[in-house]
């Protein structure tokens, strides 16, 4: 039976100026599982991840009903307690490896620092482990790479270095925020394969943040679709793609061009309008202005419904609402 590693309930993040970026997000990541958080820019997926890591910018306030990692209550941890977990038992990799690596230090010294700090390892031992991990993530001649600076590496190599660095202390949870968005498709496939292999080998739990439904389909065990700071649908991956139920999820899937799906020159499905700004005290469904199914009731309370056990969605429509009615 799988065991829940990260359990977040009712997470809210508020920024100064009265905007609420995350509005009651609940998600759980099991050991050895990949949970994909998918949504468009501004939906709050990155902010949710930063809130879990306690890495929010100054001026942001976080609250949650529950936030636990391997039984430890993250809400009650002070900065020192959190610093002990971060980079150690829970690690994060970002979209832009160039901005998250320190340009003034060699790859080796920044990789070694993680282990010297968390494990008190010697410089020699830490560098040995760094070299082993660089080899593990598919970097040839790791000894040479350790002595290089980030600017001397290509984008794909930098992202491999980031992943190797995140693995220095054998984390249980890896949060990956758009780890391949800045990379070429061929390199993207290599990096994603690497993450899958590492997961199989090390039993990593991965919280993968992406806007790319192709990546979601190929990587996720479970998917949560975010819109305007809320999880509007959450389901096992196979079930989400077989029976997308929230109108936003269906709209997103229609937008993705895929070979053979739509005749050339024919219209792709699209969602009219853009993601709205949600003021404090907003009620009702945030998607209603863009939704072909919207009714006056959508400005009231929206029920959380269950399509089948494990597949939840936030919409008043019944689970099997007819697709054609959307046209």
């Amino acid at each position: 039976m799988s065991e829940t590693l990260l359990d977040v309930q009712g997470l809210r993040v508020r920024f100064g100026g009265g905007t609420e970026a995350v509005r009651g997000v609940s998600l759980a990541v099991d050991r050895g599982e990949t949970h994909c958080l998918v949504g468009e820019s501004g939906c709050g997926k990155s902010v949710s991840a930063l809130a879990v890591m306690t890495l929010l910018a100054r001026g942001a306030t976080r609250s949650a009903e529950r936030m636990a990692f391997a039984g430890t209550d993250l809400l009650g941890l002070d900065e020192r307690g959190m610093a002990k977990l971060r980079g150690n038992r829970m690690a994060m990799i970002f979209q832009e490896p160039m901005t998250s690596l320190n340009p003034a230090y060699t790859v080796g010294s920044q990789m070694a620092e993680v282990m010297r700090r968390h494990r008190g390892a010697s410089r020699r031992a830490a560098l040995d482990r760094a070299a082993a991990l660089l080899g593990r993530v598919g970097i040839t001649a790791p000894g040479m790479r350790l002595a290089q600076y980030p600017h001397q590496l290509s984008g794909g190599l930098r992202q491999r270095v980031m992943i190797a660095m995140a693995l220095m202390c054998d984390p249980e949870l890896l949060i990956a925020d758009e780890p391949t968005t800045a990379l070429d498709v061929t390199v993207q496939a290599q990096i994603l394969r690497l993450l899958l292999e590492l997961q199989r080998e090390l039993g990593l739990a991965i919280l993968l943040i992406t806007h790319d439904l192709g990546i979601v389909a190929r990587m996720a065990h479970r998917v949560s679709v975010m819109y305007a700071g809320q999880v509007v649908e959450s389901a096992p991956a196979a079930d989400l793609f077989a029976a997308p139920t929230h109108p936003y999820t269906r709209g997103l899937l229609d937008c993705v061009p895929a070979p053979g799906k739509v005749a050339r020159g024919a219209q792709l499905g699209s969602i009219p309008g853009t993601v709205p700004r949600i003021p404090l005290g907003f009620t009702g469904c945030a998607f209603r202005d863009r939704c072909a199914q919207a009714m006056p009731e959508c400005s009231g309370d929206i029920p959380a419904q269950t399509r089948i056990p494990g597949h939840r969605y936030l919409c008043r429509l019944p689970a099997g609402w007819p697709r054609d009615a959307a046209a």
Binding site: H211, P257, P259
Partner: protein
């Protein structure tokens, strides 16, 4: 005699000199290295490839933003190099990737869209009416005209960039990754708009992208670039149905369609990366090629025409 192609590239090359410092020897980066193709009027020609393959340099050559080092670019049968800036601007216009940096942040939308007209000496009243008509045409409401780019979303900005490109009624639009910076729902809106404008205005599109699914959806013909060369060129259906070059096959294999359970494909390219300043001898793809043989390390493959496509591979 049929009409001249809207765009024709004849053995076009662009070599950049890098590192001409006092002590370092100059390096020559062959960004585009002998590219030829022709796009018929009204066609949509896609160029795909990884970063550094020269696709954006090629776009800039066709826009006349760089002079070619050698070779010729012809528009409607006339040499681009013989045209003046204004004439070129009337024929060819760009839409760039990033609508956040390609629009002047201090100018209002109506001025951004009207600037090409003003540069051509069109009078104020005509500019006002043509800008209003064009904004409506690309799906922007009239009140947007008075706004600044920062007040618009990414999709709205890309519509502004398209309006600016079309205001001179050009024959050709060069789109360099026009939807890469946009969310999928907005990407679909912009692709639909481009397809519609192409049909209604008879535009010729040169469409540069790293997203093969997008190219497959919108283009009639596709050229695959690798380190400055077109390694395969075919009609879209033929290319996607039966890719002949091993690099094309690897690119297609790395497209992640939203089909759960298919896993991540092994593209088999190894971990070397192409460097345009250091082009390998023989076939330039051989260090990454999963099927390379000894001959590939020494023999430069010549373009070969095979059943409706051109391929540069010794083994194809």
């Amino acid at each position: 005699m049929t009409a001249a192609p809207a765009i024709e590239a004849r053995d076009v090359a662009k070599i950049f000199r890098q590192g001409t410092g006092m002590f370092s020897a100059a390096r020559h980066v062959r960004a585009v290295d002998g590219v030829s193709f022709a796009v018929p009027a009204g066609g949509c020609f896609g160029i795909v490839g990884e970063s550094g393959c020269g696709k954006s340099t090629l776009a800039r050559l066709i826009l006349g933003l760089y002079p070619a080092t050698s070779g010729d670019i012809l528009v409607d049968g006339r040499r681009l190099a013989d045209m003046g800036r204004r004439e070129r601007a009337r024929l060819i216009q760009p839409v760039f990737q990033d609508p956040f940096s390609s629009l002047n942040p201090r100018r209002r939308i109506r001025d951004i869209v009207g600037l090409p007209l003003a540069a051509q000496g069109v009078g104020g009243a005509e500019i006002t009416s043509r800008v209003a008509a064009m904004l409506e045409r690309v799906g922007l409401s009239a009140e947007m005209a008075g706004r600044l780019p920062a007040q618009l979303s990414g999709g709205q900005r890309q519509r502004v960039a398209i309006a600016r490109a079309l205001i001179l009624r050009p024959r050709i639009v060069v789109c360099d990754e026009p939807t890469s910076a946009l969310d999928v729902s907005v990407q679909a809106q912009i692709l639909n708009l481009l397809a519609e404008l192409r049909r209604d205005l008879g535009l010729t599109l040169l469409f540069i992208s790293h997203n093969l699914a997008v190219v497959e959806h919108i283009c009639d013909e596709v050229a695959v670039m690798y380190l400055g060369r077109v390694v395969e060129h075919a009609e879209t259906d033929a290319l996607f149905r039966a890719p002949a070059h091993p690099y094309t096959r690897a690119l297609l294999a790395s497209v992640l369609t939203p089909e759960p359970g298919r896993g991540i494909p092994d593209v088999g390219l190894g971990d070397t990366y192409p460097d345009p300043a250091n082009i390998p001898p023989g076939c330039r793809f051989h260090p990454r090629c999963p099927i390379a043989v000894d001959a590939c390390r020494t023999q430069v493959p010549q373009p070969r025409v095979l059943s409706g496509r051109t391929v540069e591979c010794l083994l194809a």
